[in-house]
């Protein structure tokens, strides 16, 4: 879809332009940030911005002011005149993204933008991405981290071995893989049998995990939780934990494919189409 490789089948349009017949128009309307930070190590941050900006055909006065804004926005103002070789991994990622934004493309492709980032840089990057989307940029990002898709995406396409196996909002996908589960953990293993009997009186489909001292059952909602909580409160059984567990996207992926997300299968490109 980024016009760099030829497609095997199907068609794709970016910002209304066909990627096969109008590659130039597609390139004009997109920004691309690859998996590894592809900024030039021997150039300074500002020179990287200028290189890509002038290749987009932007005027040099525009590039100068846009560079200043972008460096500011990505907290790189102080580092703007330093050679990229001296940057940390997180700074490179941010510069990489800044470079992709120099022409304010309406469509932005990001390939696993937070791979290898520490948790703080990751959350910071997420904030920037949300801001972009709020300002009207369409973002298409691929990720291995399903919680990232959950956090950012309006619409998710799950791809397994090159095939689309599911598509929808995070909530829709989660609904498909079943309901939330009620999880009860008893404090003493001796109480497990009694607790199981008490739960079976209330709900169907109780599953026992003796090793974890856990009882699991499908739940409709919070009402089930309060009902079960009250019967345990009346008994003398001590609980470590009681709660409603909503399915994570990991569960969804597992449910859809029958296997976990693997490094090699490039499993869950997720698509965010936002306004």
């Amino acid at each position: 879809m980024t016009t760099l490789t030829t497609q095997t089948s199907g068609t794709a349009r970016v910002n209304g332009h066909d990627v096969i017949t109008e590659p130039a128009a597609v390139r004009r309307s997109m920004g691309l940030t690859g998996q590894a930070a592809t900024v030039d190590e021997l150039l300074t941050g500002r020179e990287n911005l200028r290189l890509i900006g002038s290749l987009y055909g932007l005027s040099s006065s525009y590039i100068a002011s846009a560079s200043r804004d972008l460096l500011e926005r990505f907290s790189l103002s102080d580092a703007g005149n330093r050679v990229v070789k001296t940057y940390s991994g997180g700074m490179r990622r941010r510069l990489d993204l800044a470079v992709s934004l120099i022409a304010t493309p309406p469509v932005l492709f990001l390939d696993e933008p937070t791979t290898g980032l520490d948790p703080r840089s990751r959350v910071e990057l997420w904030d920037v991405l949300r801001e972009l989307v709020r300002d009207g940029t369409t973002l298409l990002l691929t990720t291995q981290y399903l919680d990232e898709a959950d956090q950012l995406a309006d619409r998710i396409v799950v791809i397994d071995h090159g095939r689309v196996i599911a598509e929808g909002t995070p909530l829709e996908l989660k609904d498909r893989s079943g309901k939330a589960a009620l999880v009860v953990t008893v404090s003493r293993a001796d109480d497990l049998a009694v607790a199981e009997r008490m739960m079976r009186d209330q709900v169907d489909g109780v599953h026992v995990d003796a090793a974890a001292r856990q009882l699991t059952a499908p739940a409709e909602g919070l009402r089930d939780v309060t009902r079960i909580a009250s019967i345990f409160a009346d008994s003398r059984i001590e609980l470590d934990d009681l709660g409603l567990k909503r399915p994570s996207l990991d569960d969804v992926f597992l449910h859809l494919t029958g296997h976990r997300a693997e490094e090699t299968t490039d499993p869950a490109p997720d698509e965010e189409l936002a306004r």
Binding site: M1, L4, T5, E41, L51, V107, T137, L273
Partner: protein, 286 residues
């Protein structure tokens, strides 16, 4: 792939988007060349291959072998005769510079990044060629200065001297295609270095670059004199007045060195350029 249409998410224009102008291939190439030149500025050791190395060659050959290699045609002896050979060797190594730079860029994803921009995709190669030519020119300039220091002089006319330098640069241009081919075909900078050393050294030595071919054993002499590089060396030597024209027993190309140099250059470019472009396309599209 299934059909995916991103128009559904198209921005509503809340953000001002700058005008994207079509700048044309030349400006794009110059921009990329300028980026490569900044590399040289940041890492001047990249110039070692066209500075210290050939200067060392000039000094080594001039003083270590100079006494034991007899040349007839040169007014100032071996040192002056040597210069044409070393210059030609340096421009032959121009292919090295292109190959290493291109492989590094492909490896780091820079080429893909550039190709994702609204530019003419040849600009990546043309920009690389321009900066390599300048890189080589710096080498030729520094070697000319070194040559003047060890006693080399231009004894021909001004126009002949200019023609000699032009031939050297044009040769460097033909070598760029070889560099693009090698740089696209091999996967790492180390492999490029290995192959280029293994191939370029014999090619630049089995020629009239450092020793007169007339004194070589018969079979080797034929190979050396038909070596395209020998025509270039003979041409610049004659144009600078550092050697007399090749004798009647020399191979045909050396009898007409300027003409044969031009024919060799066209032949190399015509043969290698399509292969190089194909290799580059294939490398960057899979």
């Amino acid at each position: 792939m299934t059909d995916i249409d991103s128009t559904r998410g198209v921005a509503d224009g809340r953000v001002a988007r700058p005008e994207i102008r079509d700048t044309g291939m030349l400006r794009q190439s110059l921009t990329i060349a300028r980026r490569n030149l900044i590399h040289i500025k940041r890492m001047p050791e990249m110039l070692l291959d066209v500075t210290i190395q050939p200067v060392m060659f000039v000094l080594l050959f001039a003083f270590v072998f100079g006494g034991s290699i007899a040349v007839q045609g040169s007014p100032a002896g071996y040192r002056e005769w040597l210069m044409g050979g070393i210059m030609a060797q340096t421009v032959a190594f121009a292919s090295f510079i292109v190959a290493v730079g291109l492989t590094a860029d492909i490896d780091k994803g820079i080429v893909d990044r550039l190709r994702s921009l609204p530019i003419n995709s040849s600009a990546v190669l043309v920009g690389r060629s321009l900066s390599s030519l300048l890189h080589t020119s710096i080498g030729i300039f520094i070697m000319s200065l070194t040559g003047l220091l060890v006693g080399w002089r231009i004894r021909g006319s001004f126009l002949d001297a200019v023609l000699a330098y032009t031939l050297l640069l044009m040769w460097g241009f033909a070598m760029i295609w070889v560099g693009i081919l090698v740089g696209s075909a091999l996967r790492s900078v180390e492999a490029v270095n290995g192959l280029m050393f293994a191939v370029m050294f014999p090619i630049t030595f089995v020629a009239n670059t450092f020793a007169p071919s007339a004194a070589m054993p018969a079979g080797l002499r034929v190979i050396a004199e038909w070596n395209p590089l020998s025509s270039l060396v003979q041409a610049v030597r004659e144009l600078w007045g550092n050697d007399v024209p090749a004798g009647p027993d020399a191979a045909l190309p050396l009898q007409h060195p300027v003409l044969s140099t031009m024919i060799w250059m066209c032949a190399i470019t015509a043969m290698i350029a399509p292969l190089a472009i194909r290799a580059f396309r294939r490398r960057t599209q899979d």
